[in-house]
Amino acid sequence: MAEITLENITYVYGKGAPYEMRALDDISLIFPAGEVTGLIGHTGSGKSTLVQMLNGLLKPDSGRVLLDGKDIWEEPKNIQQIRFRVGLVMQYPEYQLFDETVEADIGFGPKNMGMDEEKIKEAVARAAEFAGLSPELLKKSPFDLSGGQKRRAALAGVMAMEPEVLVLDEPAAGLDPGGRREILGRIREYQQKSGASVIIVSHSMEDMALYCDRVLVMANGKLVMHGTPAQVFSRAEELIAVGLDVPQITRVARALRDAGVDIGLDIYTVKFAAHRLLSGREFK
């Protein structure tokens, strides 16, 4: 499965204008196949610009984007092929949905890939089920759906192409806790089944801690930290300094140490904290 490499990517908005802004500043990193990578950063840190580089929606001013070692901009005419392989679910589903019915909207990608009618139907049904959209919603206009349903429809539209690299910008924003767990759990499952590489952008530190193998931290267009959730969230002060936060449970672990019960500072999920705290104890 596919691996994406960024080499010295720089991107500037409004070049030459008074509001010129360097959104990405010499970013080099690898998104390995078969991993869920979390991308966190304050608003305006460059996350959304970065994810738009991955499927060629934006072209870097300098540097290269490599998909399995091959520069995606080598033949700019074929950039559409890249978008079949690298699926991007945008932050606001309204920006992504456009067709008359949910069914047609989800089927748009497969249709452009040249699938026949029968295959498209199968792909749509599979993607809708994946995203938790009930069949009767497929005949509706995507604009008659609730916010949560729109988010699921946008996700289904990308999943229908079975991308090798799946990029999700805030896939669970606005979903209730049960819905968040369901969607993020299914994305994790897809990654494990298909071996795809998954990149999730989110403002929820708690979700990042639960679902990601690795976490990347961006600030002001630069990559400032990367590592496992345990490594990244144990650097609370630095995260807070760049406008982010740590999961609440990580704060509890710090307070516990201050109160004389040291369970370590590399705590980022409640289950893990409970395990450290209670294992080896006699249950009364």
Binding site: G44, D176, H203, I249, V261, K284
Partner: protein, 294 residues
């Protein structure tokens, strides 16, 4: 304190595409909100939260039941258009997407939009706009372009726009969902200051349990009705019930629940990380803890 909002047996159904296909979004909902109160509303997607919000600020009219705004019956036979406008002026709403609710290109013009439409004299508009921007801490951005602000700043401008209308009550419909942790804190600090210092009644709809712990009272909705109601302490002390409803509890409560399941006597209604740590340390200290044994 009098009730700013009183709802009695409210029901609402959305019309379906065909006859007889209507979807019931609210069933027999009764509750009241006191003036100056801070109420959080929780519930899974599609439970009727947003429908309720739209009824409370009279974007939608209830199918059945009674709605009183500041003591005035909005559902009576003799209610006039004038009464509805008066009600709408008292209860405002701030939405989820920061990009969907600013109408002007300059910050102070956006905040002035509402008061201008009330036909207020210019000097009064000026005073209200200045006060509103001061209250949300955005005075120095008065002449900035709205599209260049961060998400949290945009939401604070939307709040300024709402309070510039001299509202008594503001409903926040997942107004923090799209923000980064810093923006979320900015908006929550602003909301809680409005409530404490300006006495504005707050109804805050959210999926973030930590935000709900800041409220005086929590309403939990399920399938168009009210499932639970009480102080955050009372509501979050029942994690099993919330989990079953597809919701969550603050992480402090979840950890305390594990400790309680292990047989220790701890309270569940603690939301501050330091206080949670103290409670756990109190019951665990003196015995060797997990890490040493691992």
């Amino acid at each position: 304190m009098s009730d700013i909002i009183r709802a009695e047996h409210l029901s609402y159904s959305y019309p379906g595409e065909e006859e007889g296909q209507s979807v019931q979004a609210l069933r027999d909902v009764s509750f009241s909100v006191k003036e100056g109160e801070f109420v959080a509303v929780l519930g899974h997607n599609g439970c009727g939260k947003s429908t309720l919000a739209k009824i409370l600020c009279m974007i939608l009219l209830p199918g059945e039941g009674k709605l009183y705004i500041d003591g005035k019956d909005m559902t009576g036979e003799d209610v006039t258009e004038e009464d509805i406008y008066e009600g709408r002026r008292k209860v405002g709403m701030v939405f989820q997407n920061p990009d969907n609710q600013l109408v002007a290109t300059i910050v102070e013009e956006d905040v002035a939009f509402g008061p201008e439409n009330l036909g207020l004299p210019p000097e009064k508009i000026r005073r209200r706009v200045d006060w509103a921007l001061e209250t949300v801490g955005m005075t120095k951005y008065a002449r900035h372009a709205t599209h260049r602000l961060s998400g949290g700043q945009k939401q604070r401008i939307a709040i300024a726009g709402a309070i510039a209308m001299d509202r008594k009550c503001i409903i926040f419909d997942e107004s923090t969902a799209m923000l980064d942790p810093h923006g979320r804190k900015e908006v929550m600090d602003t909301i809680s200051r409005l409530n404490r210092e300006e006495g504005i009644t707050v109804i805050h709809i959210t999926h973030y349990m930590n935000e709900a712990t800041m409220a005086d009272r929590v309403l939990v909705m399920q399938d168009g009705g009210i499932l639970m109601e009480g102080t955050p302490e009372k509501v979050f002390s029942q994690p099993e019930k919330l989990w079953k409803a597809g919701l969550d509890v603050p992480q402090t409560t979840e950890l305390l629940w594990y400790v309680q399941q292990a047989g220790y006597d701890v309270a569940l209604d603690i939301f501050d990380p330091a206080a949670c740590a103290c409670e756990i340390a109190k019951v665990l200290k003196g015995t060797p803890h997990g890490r040493d044994n691992a």
